[in-house]
Amino acid sequence: MQGGVAHVMDFVATVVIEVLYAIASLALISIGLAIIFGMMRVINFAHGEFLMLGGYAAVLPTHIGINLWFSMLVIAPVSVGLFGIFIERLIIRPLYGRIVETVLATWGLSLLLIGVVSSVIGFYQEGAAPPFGSVQVGAYHISIYTFFVIAVTAAILVGVYLFLKFTHYGLIAQGTMQNAAMASALGVNVDRVYAVTFGLGAALSGLAGAILAPISGITPITGITYIAKAFIVVVAGGVTVLAGTTVAAGLFGSISQLVTFATTPIIGEVALLATAIVLLRLLPQGITGRFFRSGL
């Protein structure tokens, strides 16, 4: 009897961890897009490619001997963040306020980046072995990296919250988000705020791609598998950056992972997408359009 209970406990623990991981990875790939959407009302369709670039920025330097942690946690976010600022200037700013045009232009950027990367780097898969090993929970092996991802995601979410709520820039950014005209009248350089915000979102996306690279490998079209889910989480979450991302990721992550356990990963994906459709139909403004409307 005791052995039986232990098996069930192991199983439950494993399920919980896998669900947390699913939630965390959804939140991780979405937070960058959420910041940009929540604060600038811009939907960046090249977001998947920012993730992809982050992945390459993490993995490629290791070929010339650079430490994986350094390239993952420093090189990736910084390089993609700077690239983001460049893109904001060139493409986003001229189209500011026009949601549809922005989506289309960034979709074009996405294709462009895929083309450039596949021309320059090639189509075979890059990767790096996940650091750490695995740990045993009863009869199940769980990679320690899984815990790392969960922990990092939580840290990022908390970090973003603290940053927005308690730093000088954070307050300015929030103010600009609420009322750009007023902020401008108060002497805020609105253009600079937008550029930095976009860069921040891009940097987080790059970081996300870097962290996930050891797990799933990187190809020029890896971004495509991310963009849809990130898009869905952000739109379903609504305009409140943190609450929206967390709640939406929580909902979709749980459902898709639990369904996956019961059936297959593909059905799990389908369940996620189907939930998104139903949710958007019921709450057209996203989750935080209805609840948690004020606040972060």
């Binding site: 549809v100 289309l104 232009a105 979709w107 596949s118 021309s119 297959t264 389908v270």
Partner: protein, 346 residues
Amino acid sequence: MTLGNMNKVGPAAVALCGLALAFALPNFVEVFVLVDLTAYIVMAILALSLALVWGYAGILCFGQSAFFGIGGYAYVLAAMNLGESTVPLLIGVALPMIFAAVLGYFLFYGRVGDIYLGVITLCVSLIFYNLVNSMSGTEYKIGSVPIGGHNGIPGVPPINLPGHPALQLGYQGTFQLSLIVLVFVYVGLHLLLASKFGRVVISIRHNELRTELLGYDARLYKLIVFVIGAGIAGIAGILFANWGSFIGPTVFSILFSAQIIIWIMVGGLGTLLGAMGGAFVIQWLNTLLGTTKIADPNIVLGAIFIVFVLLVPRGVQPKLLDFIRLLARRTVDRDGEASVTNHGKM
């Protein structure tokens, strides 16, 4: 002839040219040229479907490829099971339309906003892609035909004369059928958009609020247009499967969806000829880049996409028409004619 009259003469001329080509061209060119052209024609039909839904009605559908794929797969599975093509043709058109009716009801009567519409239609396409792509095992089959997963379904039999399964279309026949269908769809859409119904649809894109304040139920108009567009996309899907004797899950891919949108953007929102032209040009460019390997097609397409959104947002045809109008105004002004009306229906 004023430019106003050209709105009537133009399409008629185009239609006649098309029909003439359908009958005459096979006598002058090699079969492989016909086969190539057929692919372009099929994509032009698909372009027309999105031109109606997005270009004219303003419905932001990011997943038009879903209806293309549903039509294609439905036709293939039915035809390979039934051994005859007439009923499958009907199924291939009806199934996307039914699906669009359900989805559309959900979206339009729920008053789902613009960009959310884009997200949802994209999701739908992705669901199909994921589903079909994963159905690789032999246990996944409709009737006796395996769905084939990412390998797709090869060996699609050609369309046959109704009631005569043995009389199948060859390459020449497929070309002619596709071109004739294109002409019919083009003329049909032209008539639809010129009708009272069509003009209300056009007004919805310009100002949906005003249209409803005038007493029109915009939701119903959008639903009907969405369904018609799905049917046309389904027809294109059927012809596509016929052209290549094959159908695979890439028809549901996000890259393909992007292509269709680029065709309309380049050709011009609110145009029919422009949409077809956009499809032709982009397809041609794609093929050119694929064979000569000057640059990765994605780079060029992406760049075109960006440039067009930033600099030529209404597409090529409206710019061209603007230019023509500018010239016309200079020569015609003296006759006291008011400036040209253009409902953008060429």
